[in-house]
């Protein structure tokens, strides 16, 4: 089988699994009206499958900042952070992230994916070990593979299993990087950070926490899980993304270890790519300011999350264990999940469809992402629709 025939075989396998499901992935969005509404085909839909947790994509402050940056600095930097791509804004955003996390330093990357790729591959290498949660995001797996370090998995959100595998490493713990996530993107559950920190402090190792989905969502000022559980000082490195609560694109790593700065000279995903555009940096800086002052946004978000989670739970849906902005309905089969996804779209609601092997343990998910800008009426309509579909599709 040649290279192209292999791709044909993969495409055939995908079509065989879900003959009518191809359109669910990469669906064209024709127009975007607001943080919560868009047009798909000829339907005006409620957007319930974006990561726009604080609903800031149309905030006047972010839009104005982006406009001004384009006018002053043009559309792109056309160069690496290492060369000509570190403008005043890039460095200012790093200072602002360091200040936000009360850390010594911060590095801004071009995407959130690259933040994990660049941080992990900069921190560990061949002969070192990474101990990662089994349900880690692809950017964590890919960063580990790029590093060449030995990759050991522990069972998802199972501190006892993590402890067993860390202890087993013996003297290699000294060169082990432990990785967990604030909120896991598939089921929306939170890492047992207090237990992970206790184990790390007992056995050793360096801890990296990815706050991609928890930044802006958890903690009084939105730092993430570290703030919610009061363990900011116990985590060695924090990574995150701009493409969720900060509503642009990019990523960061913060740390109190002075060695973080050395990553700028060894991390290929940092060096060998163009830096974020001036407009991206400017809107992210504006969004970070709104996020820090955004306790009212977090309250709106959590009101919406808890209302929809409770309604779906009452209806009978099997959900992820923790209420939060990611609410995943777990369905028995890909066919059932596809039918649910299509039916929701027919009711003008867009959610994410997630099929094996992307979802954990061979499950199929219909995943909702709630945001602070959803109105109570929208949340009620979504809850009512899920209830109506439950009786026809599930029971």
């Amino acid at each position: 089988m040649n290279l192209l025939e292999k791709l044909d075989a993969a495409a055939a396998a995908r079509k065989a699994m879900l003959p009518d499901g191809v359109g669910a992935f990469g669906i064209p969005i024709e127009e975007v009206y607001s943080a919560t509404e868009a047009r798909i085909g000829d339907r005006r839909v409620i957007l319930l499958g974006t990561n726009n947790y604080l609903g800031l994509t149309f905030s006047p402050e972010c839009i104005r900042a982006a406009h001004e940056a384009i006018d002053k600095e043009g559309t792109g930097t056309t160069g690496s952070r290492m060369a000509n791509g570190s403008y005043f804004g890039h460095r200012a955003l790093e200072r602002e992230f360091a200040d936000f996390y009360q850390c010594q330093s911060a590095i801004v990357f071009t995407t959130g994916y690259q933040a994990n790729l660049g941080t992990i591959s900069g921190l560990v290498g061949p002969g070192d070990t990474v101990l990662i949660d089994g349900d880690s995001h692809a950017s964590i797996y890919d960063g580990c593979i790029l590093s060449g370090a030995d990759i050991i998995r522990f069972k998802h959100n199972d501190p006892a299993d993590m402890e067993k595998r860390l202890r087993r490493l013996g003297s290699r713990i000294e060169t082990t990087l432990i990785i967990a996530e604030g909120i896991y993107s598939m089921l929306g559950d939170q890492a047992p950070l207090a237990e992970i920190v206790r184990i790390k402090n007992e056995y050793g190792g360096i801890l990296l926490l990815d706050e991609a989905h928890s930044l802006g969502v958890l903690g009084e000022t939105g730092q993430g899980l570290v703030e919610k559980v009061g363990l900011l000082r116990e985590v060695d490195f924090i990574t995150g993304t701009f493409s969720k609560s900060l509503c642009s694109i990019g990523g960061f790593c913060v740390s109190n270890h002075p060695q973080l700065d050395q990553l700028r000279y060894v991390s290929h995903p940092y060096i060998f790519t163009a830096s974020p555009s001036p407009a991206t940096i400017a809107s992210t800086r504006a969004a970070l300011e709104l996020l820090r002052k955004g306790s009212h946004l977090r309250k709106q978000l959590w009101d919406n999350c808890t209302q929809l989670y409770a309604r779906m739970q009452e209806t009978g849906y099997q959900l992820g264990p923790d209420p939060g902005p990611v609410i995943a309905a777990i369905l028995d089969t890909p066919q059932q999940a596809l039918l649910m996804w299509k039916s929701l779209l027919e009711h003008n609601i867009y959610v994410n469809l997630i099929l094996p092997p992307a979802a954990p343990e061979g499950k199929s998910l219909v995943r909702c992402s709630v945001n602070a800008a959803h109105t109570p009426e929208q949340i009620k309509y979504v809850g009512d629709t899920f209830a109506k579909l439950y009786s026809t599709i599930i029971s």
Partner: protein, 83 residues
């Protein structure tokens, strides 16, 4: 082959047979992907089980060259001997 190698092989064959629930008789030369259709997630979970059974750490990146049950048993044996 040592007895421990035979134990490893037997464990792998038993576990793979129950995991795949297929009519294929699992032997040392059975191909994990083309014959058993073991997907990556199932293989990673099997590795965790093997780690616990033999009290070893098996890096998942070492699986890149593993295609058959025998190659998997060889890998486990090599890591077990070195630990």
């Amino acid at each position: 082959m040592s007895e421990s190698y035979d134990e490893i092989m037997q464990l792998l064959c038993d576990r793979l047979s129950s995991m795949t629930n297929s009519s294929v008789q699992v032997t040392a030369d059975t191909n994990l992907i083309s014959q058993l259709s073991i997907d990556s997630i199932k293989l990673l979970n099997l590795i965790m089980e093997i780690e616990d059974t033999f009290d070893v750490s098996i890096p998942i990146n070492a699986l890149a060259d593993v295609q058959t049950v025998r190659q998997l048993a060889d890998l486990v044996q090599k890591i077990k001997s070195a630990s």
